[in-house]
Amino acid sequence: MENINLVAPEIFISLSLMSLLILGVFKENSSSVVYNLSIFTLFLSLLINLNLFSFNNLYLFNGAYKVDYLSNFMKFLIIVSGIFVMLSSSKYLKINKIFKIEYPILLLSSILGMFIMISSNDLMVFYLGLELQSLALYVLASFKRDDQLSSESGLKYFVLSALSSGLLLYGCSLIYGFSGSTNFDQISNNISGVQYGLTLGIVFILVGLAFKISAVPFHMWAPDVYQGSPTSVTIFFAILPKIAALSVFIRFLYVPFINLVDQWQTIIIFVSIASMVFGAVAAIGQKNLKRLMAYSSISHMGFALAGLSVGTNEGIQSSIIYISIYLMMNLAFFSCLFMLKRNDIYYEDLSDLSGLSKNHPILSLCLLISLFSLAGIPPLAGFFAKFYIFLAVIKEEMYFLAIVGLLSTVIAAFYYLRVIKTIYFDNQTEKFDINHDIGLKISLLVSTLIILIYFIYPSPLQTLISKIVIL
């Protein structure tokens, strides 16, 4: 008998999402009940997850499912960001008339898919988790179905993602064919020497994964999907799938193929450099804040991949720290975006921020902090995130990567600073509403405080992450 306790968060989420579905179908006008209960579900699963925190290197289902520090920590990040995303976006959903019972249920099922991805130690499990996650995301992207942009973004994401899934499956089949197993540990036992079939399989799978975290050259969907989908979905897109895909990156590259590090290192370095530079340069001309954040996230993913390309435990740990801080910065920024509301219309253009500081000093301060942190200016958390990455990269003497990263940080600072200039030095416009709900205020406050205070007390996060040792 397997130790089912180890998958308790997954089982709990799937059971509760099914019962919430039944509740929502049979009870009329139960949208807000289902929504609040979903947040509660996530909260309970957070507790279950914390309860499992001390387990490491345990396998389930014939080694297809793995529970270790990495999976526990990544699930923790997923749940925390899921809770904050749901807390901050309920009013947006109500005003945009997409506050349906299916919305939180799809969010929960997507989170379930991410859990499966994070814990997977087998190509088949990983693929099914990925599909569960993305299938819910396709629907979420086009959730505002009367809106042309939203439908377009859903369709675009669906078609391109289906293509990348196809490539990924092809890679899986190649790896299975050349190594005789789909299990990550078995693959690493079975492979001997460099085989071109395996390299090809790794490349195909990396293409699929790079698509999911929108790294260059598979980023084309990101700006349109970020702009088109409802902001509450954009924030979800910007944070959660990246956490899941990054942990799959770690598991996939470092468990079965660590001996082929020379084969995949160049690819990851290329993708990382391309993402950093492209994200920084392409964001300069953007007028729409959501589009701007899409390019910014491309650039940030480049940094996270730079940490992965190193091939050491420090590299992995720096990437994980990076993604945790990235999560908080994005949460803060998008929470500010949710506050730009006037007469039930949400504004999302750069020009709408003009002169914000005169009317809303606190909101502007929060935006200032999150933008400075995104740009990587000390002593905010974003600086430390980049600092750890560069430390790990330089330790392995990969100077070119470090130099390109630094240069792209400088370029990226330009457009973040331009937003700040618009907020503080441009002409004043009309006031925005100030009656925000408590959930939004909480998520903005918490994320901003974490960014601000991280440098005083960085040790809890670091001790947690330093336990994650893959190699």
Binding site: F61, E102, L106, G113, R145, S181
Partner: protein
């Protein structure tokens, strides 16, 4: 005895293969689109017969259920709803109208030749690794049918995959409903509760009608 059964098997094999090939050709050739879909169904059925003959009875049955039962019927519905049944077939009319010379045939021919050679390369270069059976996680059960062997691992070793697939299907169902279902207002709906709970007394109403005045029926 043994040669007899082999010969009968051979006869059946050739019959099914012939039907499969002919119906595959007829799918493309036939002018009526509905007929094409019917030939497609015939093709699926004969191919599933071939599968069953070669011992892959699970694959054959799945083929029948999924392709014939679901996919082909869906095709049929689409074709019938789009009303393209009598669409003129361009493929074999290129000689009649020289101006609108159809470019389908050369391209289609080229692609089919490429696919044919790819198949040859794949089958020619394919070799079974003998050690692969030692690396497999499960040992095939000797003397069991396909369905039995698949079931014996699907519901034990791979139960989690089975469950996750169920979740994926649930999500796709929710998604399809969310994206397409529109609650239409101002529509008169049937209320079966009302219909069942109707009684004789409330069903008939005797009204004193005044002369030269209408009766208001709708309540």
């Amino acid at each position: 005895m043994r040669t007899d059964s082999l010969m009968i098997q051979g006869i059946f094999f050739y019959i099914f293969s012939l039907i499969a090939i002919i119906s595959a050709i007829m799918v493309t050739v036939s002018r009526n689109t509905v007929h094409s879909v019917f030939f497609l169904i015939l093709d699926f059925v004969s191919i599933s017969c071939l599968f069953i003959m070669s011992g892959a009875e699970f694959l054959g049955m799945i083929m029948l259920i999924v392709y014939v039962g679901a996919v082909a019927v869906l095709f049929l519905f689409v074709v019938m709803m789009l009303n393209v049944a009598q669409q003129e077939n361009e493929w074999f009319q290129s000689k009649k109208s020289k101006e609108q010379n159809s470019s389908h045939i050369p391209i289609g021919f080229l692609i089919s030749i490429i696919i044919f050679f790819e198949l040859i390369i794949v089958i020619g270069g394919w070799k079974l690794k003998p050690e692969i059976f030692n690396n497999l996680d499960f040992k095939p059960i000797v003397g069991a049918t396909n369905t039995h062997s698949i079931g014996s691992v699907l519901y034990t070793d791979y139960i989690h995959l089975f469950q996750i697939s169920g979740m994926i299907l649930l999500v796709s169902m929710i998604g399809a409903i969310v994206l397409t279902y529109k609650k239409r207002v101002g529509l008169k709906r049937q209320s079966y509760i009302k219909q069942i709970s109707r009684e004789k007394l409330s069903g008939v109403e005797i009204v004193e009608v005044e002369k030269n005045k209408g009766v208001k029926i709708d309540v």
